[in-house]
Amino acid sequence: MHVPDGFFNAGTSVAAGAVAAGTVTVCLKKASAELNDSAAPLAGLTAAFVFALQMLNFPVASGTSGHLLGGTLAAVLVGPWAGTLCVALVLFVQALLFADGGLTALGLNVVLIAIVPAFVGFAVFRLLRRALPANPGAVVGASGFAALVSVPTAAAVFAVLYGIGGAVDLSFGALLGAMVGVHVLVGIGEGLITAAVVSAIVATRPDLIYGATDLRYRPVTARGAEVAP
């Protein structure tokens, strides 16, 4: 869903850039306030992993592909503030080094691929966690479904933004339908990949998952490892 240069008028690109810069600043403050000493390497790993997963385009329909956006995954793993920063960093690296995602569209891409999926995905994740029993399976299921929802939501936000400042006059309804339709399919892939990654970490180091800190199972193993010489 990386937006290239030329899709949006200058005003909308600049406004999105300002929203992105402001949100990233707030995220930096919030993330550095709430994360502990292991946070920097874990967040770096999350960003690197999202970069790798974003390269893996999977087919979703005839002649169409999709790849993970990663906002929900990152938000579940390191929290919505740091998670947004992780994906924004990936977008920055992609735009500056890999010529993916326009330079003038960087703000739009941060809004669409980092901020919206991370916060929408994390909100859905939290709601589901409250409704479901507090166990590892619920963490996996909630993260997968939240990731699924986050992708068509981002696609809908694209349609709204394009209606405001797109370079071509289009029927808003037709664009919204087309974007959400194809991105529900991409979202299914997003949900499966997110659930698979969260499931693997739940099975190995559940204590490192931000969205699972309420689960205090296996405390003996974790503490035991800490005091061992």
């Binding site: 869903m1 990386h2 937006v3 290239p4 240069d5 030329g6 899709f7 930096l28 550095s32 994360l35 000493d37 292991s38 946070a39 920097a40 390497p41 874990l42 967040a43 770096g44 790993l45 999350t46 960003a47 690197a48 992993f49 999202v50 970069f51 790798a52 997963l53 390269m55 893996l56 385009n57 999977f58 087919p59 002649g63 169409t64 592909s65 999709g66 790849h67 920063l85 960093l89 990936v90 690296v93 080094l97 890999f98 010529a99 993916d100 326009g102 330079l103 696609a155 694209f158 394009y162 370079a167 289009l170 037709a174 664009l175 087309a178 974007m179 194809v182 991105h183 991409v186 180091r205």
Partner: protein
């Protein structure tokens, strides 16, 4: 940081590198959802070439590496390592700045062994 956590990070980074090196060359090269919709709804005509389209890693390839799969895989490895390093710098840097701001004497700086 605990040894267990270091091991987890090393293992996670290794998995990411393997995905980038071996799996990314096999990824679908079909247009993504947005490109497909842009073509169907006919708003793809305004696209401009990327300003850095001539950069040595443009479009996830390493310039000078002729084997397409190897070029993509190597670009992925470079991207994963750079993103990991940049991420650590970003988060460690922001925590250090915060620690300095919150302790003017510098007495309790971040990074102090705990």
């Amino acid at each position: 940081m605990r040894a267990h956590t270091k091991l987890f990070i090393a293992a996670g980074l290794l998995v990411g590198l393997v995905l980038a090196l071996l799996l990314s060359p096999l990824a679908s090269s079909a247009p993504d959802g947005l490109e497909k919709v842009a073509a169907e709804e006919r708003f793809d005509g305004t696209v401009r070439d990327h300003d850095l389209a001539g950069s040595p890693l443009a479009d996830y390839g390493v310039r000078g590496v002729d084997n397409g799969r190897l070029s993509t895989g190597l670009a992925g490895v470079i991207g994963v390592l750079l993103t990991f390093g940049a991420g650590i710098a970003l988060f460690a840097g922001s925590r250090a700045l915060r620690a300095r701001a919150h302790s003017p004497s510098g007495g309790r700086a971040a990074g102090q062994p705990s």
